[in-house]
């Protein structure tokens, strides 16, 4: 089966600069306010605060939502599976990317496609990586 043109091989890259203001806003919104995230003095020995893993993943999930035609389909049947490999810190300029893993016809579940999904730092190290299973309906196929 030929891949429909509405299902891209890659999503456009999203460049995200982590800020302490965003980490603080996430801490307030989600209750994730451990000192490791919001108190630079508490982590002076290890380079300052780190972003919440759930914040990084949430930004990645919104990247998927912004990359498909129908975000409601992503909300109604999308799935994520990622591993956290390294922290993100304020000032980090991160690149969020996704690439189609298989042709739709190879999917066990023919109602979706899988994308490799990752967030890498300027050194090219993938600090969060895994996959997203996206319903075909999200592409308006």
């Amino acid at each position: 089966m030929t891949r429909p043109p509405s299902i891209p091989a890659r999503f456009a890259e999203f460049v995200w600069t982590v800020t302490q203001a965003q980490i603080d806003a996430y801490a307030a919104a989600a209750g994730a306010n451990d000192p490791i995230h919001i108190d630079p003095a508490g982590r002076a020995d290890s380079g300052g605060t780190i972003a919440q893993g759930m914040l990084v993943l949430a930004v990645m999930a919104e990247y998927v939502a912004d990359s498909v035609s129908d975000r409601s389909s992503w909300h109604e049947n999308g799935a994520i599976d990622v591993r956290f490999r390294a922290p993100a810190r304020p000032g980090d300029r991160l690149s969020v990317q996704a690439a189609l893993m298989e042709e739709p016809s190879a999917e066990p579940d023919e109602g979706s496609v899988s994308y490799e999904l990752w967030c890498e730092n300027p050194a090219g190290i993938r600090i969060v990586a895994g996959k997203a299973r996206i319903p075909l309906a999200a592409f308006n196929t």
């Binding site: 919104a29 451990d34 919104e62 939502a65 999308g78």
Partner: protein
């Protein structure tokens, strides 16, 4: 208050036991604040409910030690989390194991609507603090 709560150490975590079970009233303000924090162009944001499952946020009857490392996360959404409604969060320990002599715990969280319909579920693997 938190000083009187029992500390949730790796050894005392029981696989199969539920550590968080609570109702959450989802408000417009909550949805907007979360969406703004994660940069969502249109609320609600996909992982909002997953944020409720973090042990140090949701295990209200335990003192969860600081320093845990989020190692892996799965999340599957079945329906959009409704604003203005009440949902139920339930988080259960599913697995404990050691890898390279380090202790890991896997918690499964399920979000249900008022009728018991599953809205989302996921698993969080944590390198548990010593």
């Amino acid at each position: 208050m938190s000083a009187t709560l029992p500390e949730l150490t790796f050894d005392c975590i029981v696989v199969g036991e539920t550590y968080a079970e609570r109702d959450i009233d989802v408000t417009d303000e909550m949805v907007a604040a979360y969406a703004s924090a994660v940069g969502a162009k249109a609320p609600p944001a996909y992982l909002m409910a997953a944020s409720w499952s973090v042990p140090r946020v949701s295990f209200l009857k335990w003192q969860v030690p600081a320093g845990g490392i989020h190692a892996r996360q799965t999340w599957q959404s079945f329906r959009t989390i409704p604003s203005g409604g009440r949902v139920r969060l339930r988080t259960t320990a599913r697995e404990k194991f050691h890898s390279k002599s380090r202790p890991y715990v896997v918690f499964e969280s399920v979000i249900e609507d008022h009728a018991g319909g599953v809205l989302a579920r996921g698993e969080m693997t944590i390198l548990w603090p010593r």
